[in-house]
Symmetry: C2
Subunit: 622 residues, 2 copies
């Protein structure tokens, strides 16, 4: 194992059960490292165009990053990638926890799954010993049970398990992959791809330690975070995500009743402060992380919610809560737990339910469709019930398991008006009517509406965090400003934040730019710079763009759902909405900055500058 | 004085004799720092389009960089900028020595001279005390005498003097500005602009020390260079520039007889090794520099050459030597000394003479033009004589003082074939028929043929120096390769090297990328990165591009002289030349990478990304 990477990629053909190990060259890895780097490279190189994402031709990639498993906050993550069954586009999601570090300690940077097993299997990796094992008796089990079974079978309680529950098995289009029962690679439906391959789980035990090039320097950085975490990440450390949701109502950022309304007086009942007071029984963390932002909640009535499934993040508090009009915290906790049990994404699940609620309100869905259930906004019990029905693809749940885009098409009669998605991916809990950078980011992200690759203008205004000044003299730009300065900010800060998807590091560990470069250097020994790292991001983003282009996506798909072109019905944003002309202009400016044509297609000069000339013949002429 | 800059810009109006001090804001300086950053900003903002570069409307800027005067190798330089009388384009040159550090220690980052003095003057800066003084009795004096006079007048032998000799006074179009009698801001005719303003010299004495943000860290870097200089800069430290010129004949790089021929068996007589053996009396250095690459030579017959004027660099050994067919080292040393005395650029002087020699050989110039002198290639005495005549603008010298481009136009009859210049600036001593990166660099540099902004492919092939790997995984590209990989290498490595023109640091101090960023951080306290620094380079290059665009330069001016589209008559390059189609293709690819149109005009998106939207209305629509 080298500093920064193992140099080994595991390839598992589920058709033939052939398992092989391929070598990753150092110069290759430095160009295409980690999550999006490696995943975009392999998906573009190895997938045939226009394949069925739920067919055996799709490939599912688990990947670590160059710093994964190093003893420093933010390094415990892993990426999962495939062509997305939700969007039909480039798909990728990241999870925290310990699984990524474990895979690295077993001696692998990544795993590519190909084909489809004839019956359910799971993969067992014990260092370099790798085998496919029968998972027939696990199939249909929710994740707690299957993790227990696997650990018992392998005789080791410390085995790390990434897996799917019944939602993944049944190929809910936004099914996720879960590690350790509560660390979730949530978006893009990676769990559905896993299910389509009859792959229940990947269990890993590694015994190597990750070699570090400059262990003392890294230890110094790790110590700094441990000592300063309460200053630099106070809220996360204390509450996890979801504090000050009352402020979000005031500013208009909080999605309420399917992104429609602006008032939610019950907000204090669902915030992270209330979680802490009422249902939290502890905090969890990820590998080597001092921030420790993961909630564990326990509820005993009217539902049992087990702490092993973690607790609701902000995205979940909002998507299952305010965005469904629900203020019952226990119901939200239960919905969150059910999403884990079934392995379905809480954002897409919540937004799909809020979509259905709005359809119900307009009579596009009736009690006939809901098996008599009242699906009004605010009905907590129905919300919880719907999660279950989606996870099981039962009744209306089967339709909603297809996601808002497909469900709206089927329902018809203008239901599309209520489907809040980009490229088929449901919009997360940040309102672009408040923040124009967010609007652009949702529109152009290769994975559809995605908050992780985004800039969250509210974090950059009125004061821009000092750490970003390492990327140039950047000025804060007002939230509603959609001019060139906002686009520049999106390009620079957005790319820096997206670097986390390449390093497979966490967005929530507040390393400065300089510190993060230093971490990469200390672990890998690469004499790298922010310049090189930013180019790696441009490279990966461009490859993902080409992937989508080949799948038939055009500039028209870089757009927002109708909802955001109207103001909210009340509250702070009752008079403001995204101006489509401004969005179009910003989008074209962004394309140009990226070296893409006005149709959004990467130019030859861009490929040349990024040293990916090989990708030229993957671009379809349009 | 802040870390990294004084925040003070001195503005001297020579018409009114008004001297004022302006404030440079920190965020401004970080965006437009040092040499090209500041100069391109002010020239574009303050000059009217199409002014006469030798008229009072031109402005002459002396500038330090953010690390100037810090005690570390490479920090003793200064930039000089103005609209160039040689090219009519953006003009800028850099000099080593002590003058830049002295200006910083006096408390100024830059000086802008405006207008024209009614009679000769010099500027005297003693810390914040600044005055214009009469220079009538200095006018016409060569530099040694005028430096002595100034120092005596000011009663301080340690005063640093940047000045012009008679060549600058008479406005030889490639006159230079000289500090300490042998540190030369050579290119673009900055000395002619100085002469046109009746400005003889700028004398400086500073007493402040330059504040450092992290003095210990900087001291560690300085110590590293002191201890390792003999490894990392062995040849420069031992010989200065110009060693192994025999290898240059073998590869074809050495210009011989106006870039025409490939054989020069006498090469060993003019190399830096021979300089060391035969005429060198010591080595000099610049402020705080451990490399110490400056030769001092002494000759007593047939000419006296005084060591105070330094000694010939490689560029001079070749331009006055092989490129004039001259193998008489003493003659070259004398020619070098004369260039200093008159303050004319040795490269342009040598190439103009070699041009005249070829014209003479073809009968386009005859003894009638030369006052009976035999101007054949190889005539050392005539070469020396011509330097004098150019410096004095006497006889044929008056024509040649206009530079090859104008001289060729006047001579006519096909003389243009022999004029080896780009945009009017004579080509330095590196042959683009050997190195395609060099070809592109000559063509697109805003200052015309310039070797300092260039990549010198031979330094990057067959092995690419490890230090550049901090800018990404870069592969060595064969010298003659003119494909996308070469263009990429030119863009990335070229921009990194051009950063020296912004930091006003030396190309010859072999700092790694990581070390150089660290130096900037240690001096300035900016939490900067290579990403930010590279963007500053793109910004300045784009402003210089817009400057030239406004002056009427088009993509057609980004081209090479006819000579390089033909092979050499003999030697290594007798069958190879620059392919114009390849050059055109590479040029367009480079434009595209820069975010310029195919006409070479920076696009709005490029201005937006570089945060120079203000420059949009400086672009002339063509």
């Amino acid at each position: 194992m080298e500093n920064g990477f193992t140099g080994k990629l595991l390839r598992v053909n589920l058709n033939t059960e052939k398992i092989s190990v391929e070598t990753l060259e150092k110069t290759f890895y430095r160009r295409y490292f980690g999550g999006r780097g490696l995943i975009s490279y392999y998906l573009l190189k190895e997938l045939e165009p226009k394949i069925n994402p739920l067919g055996p031709e799709n490939k599912l990639i688990f990947a670590c990053g160059p710093v994964t498993g190093a003893p420093v906050s933010g390094s415990g993550r892993n990426s999962v990638g495939a062509k997305s069954p939700l969007t039909g586009a480039y798909g990728e999601a990241e999870a925290g926890g310990y699984w990524g570090a474990e895979l690295k300690r077993a001696g692998f940077d990544a795993i590519i799954f190909e084909g489809k097993a004839s019956s359910p299997v799971y993969l067992w990796i014990k260092d370099q010993k790798v085998e496919l094992r029968d998972a027939s008796r696990l199939w249909g089990h929710e994740i707690r049970k299957s993790q227990e079974t696997i650990r018992n079978e392998l005789g080791d309680k410390r085995v790390k398990v990434a897996q799917i529950g019944p939602g993944g098995e049944k190929q809910v289009r936004y099914a996720c992959v879960i590690n350790d029962m509560h660390h979730v690679a949530g978006r893009c439906g990676m769990g559905a791809v896993m299910g389509s391959k009859n792959l229940k789980a990947v269990a890993v035990k590694g015994s190597k330690s990750v070699p570090l090039r400059k262990p003392k320097r890294l230890a110094k950085l790790a110590r700094w975070m441990a000592q300063n975490v309460d200053n630099v990440a106070h809220a996360l450390h204390t509450y996890g995500t979801g504090d000050e949701m009352d402020v979000m109502v005031e500013t208009g950022n909080l999605p309420i009743r399917n992104f429609r309304d602006g008032d939610f007086p019950e907000v204090d009942q669902i915030s992270a402060e209330t979680v802490k007071e009422q249902v939290r029984v502890g905090m969890g963390t990820c590998f080597a992380c001092a921030v420790a932002c993961k909630k564990k909640v326990k509820v005993t009535e009217p539902w049992n919610v087990y702490p092993e499934y973690g607790g609701p993040e902000y995205e979940t508090l909002a998507s299952m809560g305010s965005n469904c009009g629900v203020s019952d915290l226990k119901a939200i906790c239960k919905a969150n737990e059910l999403c884990q049990r079934y392995s379905i994404d809480t954002i897409s699940t919540g937004v799909t339910i809020s979509f259905a609620m709005e359809c119900y309100e307009h009579g596009l869905l009736t009690k006939e469709d809901t098996d008599g259930m009242d699906l009004s906004f605010g009905n907590a019990e129905s919300m919880v019930k719907m999660v279950e029905m989606i996870g099981e693809k039962r009744g209306l749940g089967a339709l909603l398991a297809e996601g808002t885009k497909r469900a709206a098409e089927q329902i018809g009669n203008g239901a599309e008006e209520f489907a809040v998605h980009v490229k088929g991916q449901e919009v997360p809990m940040h309102d672009p009517r408040l923040k124009r950078g967010e609007a652009l980011g949702y529109a152009v992200s290769p994975t559809g509406a995605d908050h992780v690759h985004n800039i969250h203008d509210t974090f950059l205004y009125p004061a821009l965090p000092k750490k970003y000044n390492s990327l140039g003299v950047l000025e804060p730009v007002p939230l509603e400003d959609f001019g060139p300065k906002k686009v520049r900010l999106y390009k620079i800060v957005g790319e820096w934040r997206t670097l986390n998807n390449f390093l497979v590091m966490c967005l929530f560990t507040p390393w400065s730019v300089v510190q993060k470069v230093e971490i990469v250097r200390s672990v890998t020994g690469w004499n790298t710079t922010a310049f090189e790292l930013m180019k790696v991001v441009e490279r990966g983003n461009t490859l993902a763009r080409i992937f989508n282009n080949r799948e038939g996506f055009t500039e028209k798909d870089d757009w927002l759902p109708p909802r955001f072109f109207q103001p909210k019905t009340s509250g702070a944003l009752d008079k403001t909405s995204v101006n489509p002309h401004e969005l179009q202009k910003a989008k074209l400016l962004y394309y140009d900055m990226m070296g893409w044509t006005e149709k959004g297609i990467p130019k030859q000069s861009t490929l040349a500058e990024l040293d990916i000339g090989w990708a030229a013949d993957k671009i379809s002429v349009q």
